[in-house]
Symmetry: C2
Amino acid sequence: MSTKLVEAETPIIPLHECRRFIVDCMLAVGTPKSNAETLANILVEADYRGHYSHGMNRIEMYLSEIQNGICNVNAAPEILKETPATAWVEGHNGLGVVVGTFGMEIAIQKAKKVGIGLVVCKGSNHYGIAGMYALQAMKEGLLGLSFTNTSPVVAPTRTKHAALGTNPLSLAAPGLNADSFVLDMATSAVAVGKIEMKNRTKSAIPPQWADLDTGALHPLGGDENNSSYKGYGLALLVEVLCGILGGGAYGPNIRMLGNFDMFADLGHCFIAIDPSCFAPGFEERLSDLMQSLRKMEPISTDKPVLVPGDPEQLHMDAVNKAGGVRYVQDQLDTCRKVAETLKVKPLQYDLH
Amino acid sequence: MSTKLVEAETPIIPLHECRRFIVDCMLAVGTPKSNAETLANILVEADYRGHYSHGMNRIEMYLSEIQNGICNVNAAPEILKETPATAWVEGHNGLGVVVGTFGMEIAIQKAKKVGIGLVVCKGSNHYGIAGMYALQAMKEGLLGLSFTNTSPVVAPTRTKHAALGTNPLSLAAPGLNADSFVLDMATSAVAVGKIEMKNRTKSAIPPQWADLDTGALHPLGGDENNSSYKGYGLALLVEVLCGILGGGAYGPNIRMLGNFDMFADLGHCFIAIDPSCFAPGFEERLSDLMQSLRKMEPISTDKPVLVPGDPEQLHMDAVNKAGGVRYVQDQLDTCRKVAETLKVKPLQYDLH
């Protein structure tokens, strides 16, 4: 629940420059402009919200997948089967952000007609932060839920070996006066990106995050005595809604990140719900609940009680005030190397 | 994840006798027979599945609520608003099990027509184990999801004071050959019933379950360093789908258990999903995933890797073999007192 920019002696970079850089990199590897912009918007939004693990940190991974021909930047998703309230979507191995944005758009259209839309996608790739698609529904006045499976890096309770993804879930819902509830969480103790960020800053991995023997992440809870079977169960809930319902890869069958020998065939699940089909006053009640929680007596006065989405809002406020985001030096070095390799204009630091 | 019957020197009691006793008690306080049977089936199913906290353990609570006139055993739920895929239901302060069974039945009917049904109820009471309603959908070949809010006994991250319920969630889904996935979990570190069971057996409450100062339960995760904000966020996700969407009581506004000065006005949310609207072969994939997890190398050979629903299946197998369930002596004493007070035939111990 960090509310600060990355603490580093590195320059502030405006968000539009981050987007420009990602678009240029994606165009350089043959991505159609609108798909490049979709990816740039989603990655930079992750950094803006303070989820640095899922923003610029991932640009190398996306580029490698494309350059190795294991992800099709030109693919357009297709509806295979639908009812007034559901759709099953084939991603045709396109960019996860393109499949995801398409999937949630279909869910939104259906929710506006019959109160709920459920869309399950297969044949996709890494889609960034789950919260982006939940926010996509929220911007239309709906509740949005987003789920995805991921590469198997989490050990089920009672084994040291990985078999499930960090399988994140997100719910976003609108409150009054632009207030909002935005839960966006991996069902593991921590997200893989947080391990990557520890590696970027050469920090040790805390033992409650992972089995230090095999490197497998723990489910939320940690160990069996601390109810880790609930985190394990939640990872499976997400997998049932994604890979099992959608018919793509699932659980231990999903390729590991960085393996370019097989398609990812990831699955996503999107749900949009129209609150006007239920009790009037949804936004008022949600804001009332969130305000009552924020006003609770904290254990430590410097750590107020927050609701999901507040840490991200505080981070966005800090970015707005600073005029941009800060990356750790290792990230800037990566960006410079990427620019050289792809012969695109390097990320500019002194534009604000 | 206990797989044994209660270890006590108490007699085995057949399930039909447990049901008979509960029906008689409920009839004695004026409950219509079909509603009494619905409650008996759901409570005894909880004991059968090994969730002793939510079975016979709760009979006193239900009877007290009815005798204090704070729950209407004659009420029939009513649909206030609906679309082909959604319904908003008023429980009219009826028994939670009656409102819940009705709500999931509507969700099932809608899922069979348009692939998904979402039903949100208000004006309800304690509905027993969340899993019963998920199983209700699973028995129809569907995926079932069930959520409920509960009395505020869980402290949000960063405060010692309770403001949210244990807000359980459940997903049940069918596998091959009667195999199944049944996740049924409180979003707190443990369920309130587990605290009650510790009290019945005069055992100490582990510090990772609750704040020993205020008695408030911790969210799943425990403390902030162990990602408790995820458990807290999940409790809120459930509340958004129940009290906030349905317009009943929510969060800190819900009455405490045992307070007979106000109606519970609990909210439930039910979702049924028809897997045939998505990729063919759902049951095969689910069983394949579950089997691969069960076959994983365990840390300790006497503790095999399980999937959600396995501990309950093992318990049901043990009950079937023994010919019934066993209750702790304190529970038997309670049942005897209840029988005397209501002048119903006591729970019979020697019927097998």
